[in-house]
């Protein structure tokens, strides 16, 4: 998929290359497909930790396609990829830590007068 750069060698002066858009519509299909799967799970599965985990995995898959293909990060240099990914990984850590903390605070508050 890295070959979606324009092929300029055969172009005459002022001529415009043919659009190369098949890969864009393929990514679009993937994104719509994943969203459809999410809706199937919303209505066919009872809320549970498993269902939430499925949603989070599907969301990360969508993010992978948007950032990797649409924002072109997959085709940038390794240094740039890591520059973006490492801080984001730390953010995920923060998220997990504070959600755990939230559950603990909730437990304390709800059992305070029992």
């Amino acid at each position: 998929m890295a070959s979606h750069a324009t092929t300029e060698h055969t172009l005459a002066q002022g001529e415009i290359a043919k659009p190369n858009t098949a890969w864009i519509w393929r990514v679009f299909g993937v994104l719509v497909g994943i969203t459809a799967v999410e809706f199937v799970f919303v209505f066919l599965m009872h809320p549970s930790t498993l269902r939430n985990s499925i949603f989070i995995v599907l969301t990360i898959m969508k993010a992978f396609f948007i950032v990797g293909e649409f924002m072109h990060l997959k085709h940038e240099t390794k240094g740039l990829i890591w520059t973006i990914l490492v801080p984001v990984a730390l953010l995920v850590w923060l998220l997990v830590a504070l959600i755990t903390e939230g559950s603990f605070i909730g437990e304390v508050l709800q059992n305070m007068f029992k």
Partner: protein, 257 residues
């Protein structure tokens, strides 16, 4: 001039032994990216911090509240527990009180994904220096972007005005809809987080639409053609995809989970 307080011009001194070439004037491009594109990436990373802070706050506050444990059909709005999203967001424009759980938000998601696609198509057309195609796809992106903003305005109006049945509050009165101090759907913070998170995202979409309109005018005037490249479309495109990406996360954590 006996004493000069300014340093010699860096480009001038560089020509003595080895001339500097290249976009960053050091004969090299860090990460093989242009200055503008790299800085856009760093801005988006900092913006991701902001949105992550919002979503982390949402996750923490939500986990602090009680969970409704009964069957979904027996669910009623109460300040005791966090609301089930498909009971809150179940209205569709022009369908009155009909129960369409998450129907409208599905439509909004589709509109934003489509706008992302037309944005890539504009960037692709820019690579080919195809001015007419860039204009066409920018206009489609602006159309989808404004449609999304309109949908969000409707969603907010419905959220603020509330469901027909309302909820009986602690003092015995029935309350419809939501504001920052109270809401019919559940804990006060639920509505606050809705306003802040979707509002902040909507502001980003609005800024994006403004930038796209500016891009369209510049393209039409031939600014980018004279410049010899459409890199500005790429940079605005990065921003636009980021806004779509944020929606993907807001959608999951606010409407699905």
């Amino acid at each position: 001039m006996a004493q000069s307080t300014t340093l010699p011009h860096p480009a001038a001194s560089a020509t003595h032994d080895a001339p500097r070439t290249g976009n960053w004037d050091g004969g090299n491009e860090p990460f093989k990216a242009s200055y503008g594109k790299l800085m856009m990436w760093f801005f988006l990373l900092s913006d991701a911090f902001t949105f992550a802070a919002f979503l982390t706050t949402y996750g923490m506050i939500r986990h602090k509240h009680e969970v409704f444990t009964g069957e979904a059909k027996d669910f009623v709005f109460s300040t005791r527990w966090w609301p089930i999203p498909d009971h809150v967001f179940n209205a569709f424009p022009g369908m009155g009180e009909a129960n369409v759980p998450l129907g409208f938000v599905a439509l909004m998601t589709m509109i934003l994904i489509l706008s992302s696609v037309t944005m890539v198509l504009a960037v692709e057309a820019g690579h080919r220096m195809d001015k007419a195609d860039v204009q066409k796809w920018l206009l489609w992106t602006i159309l989808f972007g404004t449609t999304f903003l309109g949908s969000q305005a409707w969603e907010w109006t419905h959220f603020i005005n509330g469901h027909h049945e309302g909820t009986v509050m602690a003092d015995g009165t029935v309350f419809h809809g939501a504001n920052l101090a109270m809401n019919q759907y559940g804990p006060v913070l639920f509505a606050d987080l809705f306003f802040f998170i979707t509002g902040f995202h909507g502001t980003h979409v609005f800024s994006g639409v403004c930038l796209l309109v500016w891009c369209f005018i510049a393209t039409t005037n031939g600014t980018f053609e004279k410049r010899g490249h459409y890199e500005m479309i790429e940079k605005i495109g990065l921003y636009w995809h980021f806004v779509d990406l944020v929606w993907v996360f807001v959608f999951t954590f606010f409407y699905l989970v």
